[in-house]
Every structure is written in C-alpha cells, then in structure tokens.
C-alpha cells in the first residue's frame, strides 16, 4: 500500500494521513491566532489610556479570549503539527493510529470552540488563569479539559510513531536532534496535561456543584503546573524549530550532539519547577521551596537555554564559514538571507527571546526581586518576548517553510512575507520594552483603568507611565499589523497561492490529501545518517564560531548588568522581613 510522497523541492517524505493531520492542525492554529489577534487589538487599545477603547466588561472578556487563544489554542495546535512532522516526516515513518489522531483533533476543536463560546457568552471573563474562587461557567472548564485530552492523544500518537519508526527501522542510529527536541516538548506536555487534569477536573466539578470548596492557594500551586509548564513546551518546541530551520536553510548541524541533547535533557528534568515563578509572593510557601524551585534547582534549565543560545546560532555560523563566509567575526551573519522570512523570522525570534525574554524572565523569577515585579505589566511584557516573539515568530517562520513543502503552494504576496518578521518583531519589541518600563513604575497588569475612575480614594501614576503605555500601544498596533500580514500571506497562499502541484486545490489546503497517485512510495528508504566530519573524532580545539561567542558574551554582559540593577532597585524599597 503506497502511502508516502516525496516533496520534489525539499526531499521531505510525507505520510498521507500524517500530512492531512499536520494541515488541519496548522489551519486550526491559524484560526486561533486570528481570534487572539483581534482581541489583542482591543486589549492594547484599551490599555493605551488616551484611546481607552473598550468598556470594562468587554476589556476583560477580550483579555480572557486573547490569553487563551494565543497562549493555548494557537500554540498547541501548531505544536501537534510540529510533533507529527518531527516523528513522521523526519523519520519517514507512517503515523501511529491515525484514527486516534483524528479523534484527538476533533476533541481539541470541540474543546476550543466550547471554551471560546463560554467566554463570548460573557459570564466567564475569568482570565486564562481562572483563579478559584472566582468562578466561570462549567463549559469554560469542560472545554479546556476536552482540549487537553485531545492534545494528550496527540502526544501519544507522536510517541507511538517513534516506536513504529524504531521498530520498522526507518532510520539508522539515534533519532535526529530536532525529533529529540520534539520528544522533550512531548514529555513536558504530558506532565503539563496531568497537572491540568488534577486541577481543572475538580474545578469543573465545583462549578457544577459537586464539590463545595476549592482551596485558593492550592489552585494556584497546581494550576501553574499547567500554566507555566505549557510555556515550557513552547520553549522546547521552538528551540527544535530553530534547529530545524538552521538545518534546512544552511545544512547546519549541531556543534555537538551531546551538548545539545544534554541541554534538552536538562529541560525535561528542571523546567517544570518554574511554576514556582508565579507564587513567589504567595502566603504559606516557604522561602527554601521558593529558592529551590524558582531557580530550577540551580538555574540548570537556564543553563540549558544559554547552551542552546550558543549552539543554535553557532551551528549556523559553522555552516556558513564552511561555505567560505569567513571574513571577520560577522560575515556569516551579514551575508545570511535576511530577505527570506524563514531566516529573518528564525533569527529575530532567537535574539529577542534570548536578550529580552530570557533575561527578564530570570530576573523577575528571582525570589526577592519578584516583590517589585509581581503582577505588574512587566510580567506580560516578559512573556510576550518569550511566547509572542520567541515561540510565535519561530512558528511563523516555520509556516513560510511549510507552505510550499507541506501545502504545495507558493507564497502569496512574497514581499509582504519578506517584511512580516520585521514589522511583527519591531512592533512587539517596542511594546515589550515600554511595558517593561511601565511595570517598573508599578503599572498593573490585567487592569482596565489607570485613572481608577469611580474609585473612592485616588492615586495617580506618574506622567511617564502614561507615555510608556501609549508607546506600548503604538508598538502593539504595529505587532497586530504584523500578525495581519502573517495571516494574509498564509491564508492567501492556501487559497490563491500558485499551485506547486497541480492537484493542490482549495480542499487540499485544508486537509484533504492529494490524489492517491501522488503517494507512490510504499516503503520509504531509511533516513540516512548525517555524513561524518573530520572534526568529530576529536572535538574542535579552536573556536569554530567566534562571532557567536561574541554574541553570547554580549548576552551575558547585558544579563549581569540588568540583574544587579534590579537588586539595586529592590534595595531601595521599604524594608520587609
């Protein structure tokens, strides 16, 4: 039974059923991003105090929708597509249990729709975190539970595919690094979903009256096992995407398999502890627990990210230097394909994630420094650098790669695609930097009105806080424009893009397989091992990627300086003990 096709441009193998599943998951992700983006506009235009677009009830509703659709639905749908790609396409294996995979997908869709409906109805504006004892409608929780069950099925389909590939010997040696990264994401996802089940199922039962009390502190502790770990799935997934893009564009290989894989292993072991970041100023939790967990044992997961921060661009530099771009420190980077959105998206995602997202995350996750940051708008600024730029932009870059390969369509309006990563990341960076500033001035997150209209007492933020929120508003609007450009290009490509395969019609863009004759390979040739390099027997004695090392040292200097600036700021507030 023939079931594979080979993409003539990239050489990637696509299993018929896996291909359809990747497409539908990617499309569902894009739809979620659309909802999230529309809501983002409402949120940012309300926080821009001079515009103050929405009334309070609509603002909190929009904020809830924005958070859930952007942080959960867009990202997890896309990650399921990535997992199927990493297991089935990269290992040239048939997908395990495609019917189960479809069942999982249908559950995820039902769950996502149900949850969105609950919030749109207006009585579940409880934010993504839905902290008990604030209560949403039962179908708010049920939707999330169904979505999580569907995603869990997706994880097991991924694991099953790895087993099949091993069993049927579709590759030699060990699984590729990218697949290893996806496996990391999958393992973290299973942990995440388990935490979600532990907290959301009782909360659902409480909302329909079967349980009469949910402890508010316990809710926060367990919920963040879901809430934070789900963001760690993203980190593992987008680091894998970085390695994938570096491999596809440059033929880059890991500088050391051992180092990169060990870094992923550190993620599996330590990343989840970071749920503690959210409860550093909660009552009832000891300092010892906070210090150990907030630092991922001893910042071992930060160490892992710092390693990837060197090895991902380092692998690009080594590949570029091998092609003769050896002049000075940075010729390899200057002469990179900056007009290719796959590259620019990938590299901007890497830089902004590391320099802004990474540094601010560690700083605010420091036990005592959290006192001057908790729940200020500094927090969303941080996670927009990690998730909206780090993860989302990496996924956008990957989309530009997949449209011709997976969907067999040429990019629609390629000049828009070319500009999109720049517009999106410029807007985001502007918004993030000024939100960080406003947070330092104490501006609160999840807050409708900086003027406190209607309050009996009064308080005025300094004028600079207003200016900062206005600039953040401009940045946010620009970022939304970048999002619109992404959706115009992707949806446009699926509908109007030039067909690279005659049969890649409208329905094929949305999940239908190509005609049966296209899948003319019944058993794929095993994936070859990467060719050997001379250096591999002894390791490299010299600095193979000096430019990257300079970048890494620049990151470290920013990190150290900013870290101690914040301690200094902390030391100026009221003494507490």
């Amino acid at each position: 039974m023939a079931r594979f096709r080979v993409c003539p441009d990239s050489g990637f193998y696509f299993d018929k059923s896996a291909e359809s599943l990747m497409k539908v998951n990617a499309v569902a992700a894009a739809v979620s991003l659309l909802v999230a983006g529309i809501m983002a506009l409402g949120v940012i235009l309300t926080r821009w105090q001079e515009v103050h677009l929405l009334p309070a009830d609509l603002f909190y509703q929009a904020l809830t929708l924005h958070g859930i659709n952007a942080l959960i639905f867009w990202i997890i749908f896309f990650e399921i597509a990535i997992m199927y790609f990493a297991a089935s396409t990269l290992l040239r294996s048939r997908l395990a249990a495609p019917k189960w995979a479809w069942a999982g997908f249908v559950l995820m869709i039902i769950g996502a729709v149900m949850n969105n409906v609950a919030v749109f109805q207006g009585r579940s504006s409880v934010m993504m975190t839905s902290y008990a004892p604030m209560q949403a409608e039962p179908h708010f929780y049920l939707g999330l539970i169904l979505f999580a069950v569907g995603a869990l099925i997706g994880c097991f389909v991924f694991l099953g595919t790895l087993v099949i590939a091993k069993d049927e010997k579709t590759y030699e040696g060990s699984i590729p690094l990218v697949t290893f990264g996806a496996l990391t994401a999958c393992i973290i996802a299973v942990f995440t979903i388990a935490c979600g089940a532990i907290i959301l199922i009782p909360t659902f039962l409480w909302s329909i009256g079967y349980i009469n009390h949910i402890d508010a502190a316990m809710y926060r502790l367990v919920w963040w096992g879901l809430g934070h770990s789900s963001q760690q799935i993203n980190v593992a997934a987008h680091v894998s995407v970085w390695y994938l893009i570096a491999g596809v564009l440059f033929g880059a290989r890991p500088m050391s398999e051992k180092v990169s894989r060990s870094a992923f292993l550190l993620y599996i072991l330590f990343l989840q502890l970071a749920s503690a970041h959210h409860i550093l100023v909660d009552p009832g939790i000891s300092s010892e627990w906070k210090v150990f967990n907030t630092s991922y044992a001893m910042y071992l997961a930060v160490l892992a990210s710092m390693i990837h921060g060197l090895t991902v661009p380092g692998s690009v530099e080594v590949a570029q230097r091998a092609k003769g771009l050896t002049k000075g420190m940075f010729e390899w980077l200057r002469k990179a394909p900056w007009d290719n959105p796959v590259f620019s998206g990938f590299f901007l995602s890497l830089i902004i994630f590391g320099f802004i997202g990474g540094i601010t995350g560690v700083v605010m996750g420091t036990e005592q420094i959290n006192l001057i940051i908790h729940n200020t708008i500094y927090v969303p600024a941080h996670f927009h650098a990690t998730v909206a730029v780090g993860t989302t932009l990496a996924f956008m870059a990957l989309t530009y790669l997949l449209i011709p390969v997976l969907f067999r369509r040429a990019l629609f309006l390629p000049w828009v695609a070319k500009m999109q990563p720049y517009v999106f990341s410029a807007g985001m960076t502007l918004m993030i930097l000024f939100m960080l500033g406003a947070g330092t001035l104490g501006v609160s997150r999840r807050h409708w009105d900086m003027d406190f209209t209607g309050a009996l007492l009064s308080f005025e933020y300094p004028g600079t806080a207003y200016v900062m929120m206005a600039v953040a508003g401009i940045g946010g609007v620009l970022a939304v424009l970048g999002g619109v450009m992404y959706l115009v290009v992707t949806v446009g490509s699926l509908v109007f893009g030039k067909k690279l395969d005659e049969s890649a019609g409208f329905l094929q863009s949305f999940g239908l397989p190509l005609p049966a004759g296209t899948y003319n390979i019944s058993r794929a040739d095993p994936v070859p091992m990467a060719p050997r390099l001379a250096v591999e027997e002894h390791g490299s004695a010299g600095f193979e990627a000096p430019g990257t090392f300079v970048l890494a040292m620049a990151l470290l200097v920013c990190f150290v300086v900013y870290y101690f600036i914040n301690w200094d700021y902390l030391s100026s507030v009221w003494p507490l003990s």
């Binding site: 409708w448 990467a530 490299s540 003990s577």
Partner: protein, 179 residues
C-alpha cells in the same frame, strides 16, 4: 548533514565536546551558581525579604481582628472608611474585598509593624504604590510580614490581581508620617 538527520556518529555521546562550547558552559554555569546563591545571600544580608509566616484563616475571624484594631485605634474617617493609627511595633491588619482595601492605615516613619493581610472573597493583589511592593493576597490565608516604612508620604494600595468588573476601583491608602 543537518540537525534533522540522525547523528553521523552512532556513538555520539562519546564524541568529545569542542573547546568553545566547554568554555561557554563553564561561564554559564558559574553565572547560574552566582544567581542561585544571591537569593540565600539576600535572606542573610538583604533588607527586603518575605517572612515565611502565614496562617490559614477564615474571612469571619480575620474581619474580627480588623474590626478590633479599628475599635481601638481609629483616629478619623475618609471616604467613608476608617483611618487607623495603631501604635508602632504593633500588629496591624488590612483586608481586601470586592472592591476595597480596608481600613486606611497611618504609620510612623522608620517604625516597624507586623502587617497582616488577607482576602474576604477572591484573590487580590496588594500593590503598594509608588514604592512598588507587590504581594498576592489569597482568601483563607493570612500573610504576616514586618514592614518598616522609611519615607514619609501618601501611599496607595492598588489591587493588581484581577477581581471582576470593579477591579479598577479597588484602592487603599497607607499614610506614613513623622510623629
């Protein structure tokens, strides 16, 4: 020859690591350890630490303590809310509820107080402005910490944990005076 193919060496874990990576891992590890030890260091030598003191409580019993303090030390009223000036060094109480921080406290500069905080209903965020000290206030839990206001002024307590439609009207006050 790429990151998405199986490694070229079957026994890849025996391939030695390049010098550049080793150097970077070393530097990064040292930095990670410095950051780790900064936290216990600050517990020993820094002045801004949370206590580990907290109790389970109920809204009713916490409310009773607040009312007791108000009865003893009320000195005035503002916007319908009692203004309380408890003696330096004493236990002082503030509760969060939809949508106010209650009551208004008047404190003496450079004196220490044991501040008790709890919520009557949902999660609230105690955000002292413009000092920018932020604490999570959880119903059913009473957080205790020692504060030493070191500057004179009118301080606001903003609620920075979303608590429903009136969230933005939830403000409290702490006055710090030289007495």
């Amino acid at each position: 020859m790429t990151s998405f193919l199986p490694p070229s060496e079957r026994i890849w874990w025996k391939v030695p690591i390049g010098r550049q990576e080793l150097v970077w891992i070393g530097i990064a590890l040292v930095w990670c350890l410095i950051m780790f030890f900064m936290m216990p260091y600050w517990h020993l030598y820094g002045k801004q630490n949370l206590s580990n003191e907290a109790y389970q409580t109920t809204p009713a019993s916490f409310q009773a303590k607040v009312d007791d303090m108000i009865k003893q030390y009320q000195v005035g009223e503002e916007a319908g809310m009692p203004v309380v000036r408890p003696p330096a060094g004493s236990d002082i109480y503030m509760l969060g509820r939809l949508w106010q921080w209650y009551p208004i406290l008047e404190l003496e500069k450079d004196k220490s107080y044991r501040l008790h905080l709890s919520s009557m209903d949902w999660n609230h965020g105690f955000s002292l402005q413009p000092v920018n000290i932020n604490l999570q206030i959880i119903p059913g839990y009473e957080m205790v910490l020692t504060v030493t206001p070191d500057q004179i002024g009118d301080y606001a307590v903003v609620c920075n944990e979303y608590c429903g439609i009136g969230h933005h009207t939830m403000l409290g006050k702490i006055y710090v005076k030289e007495i």
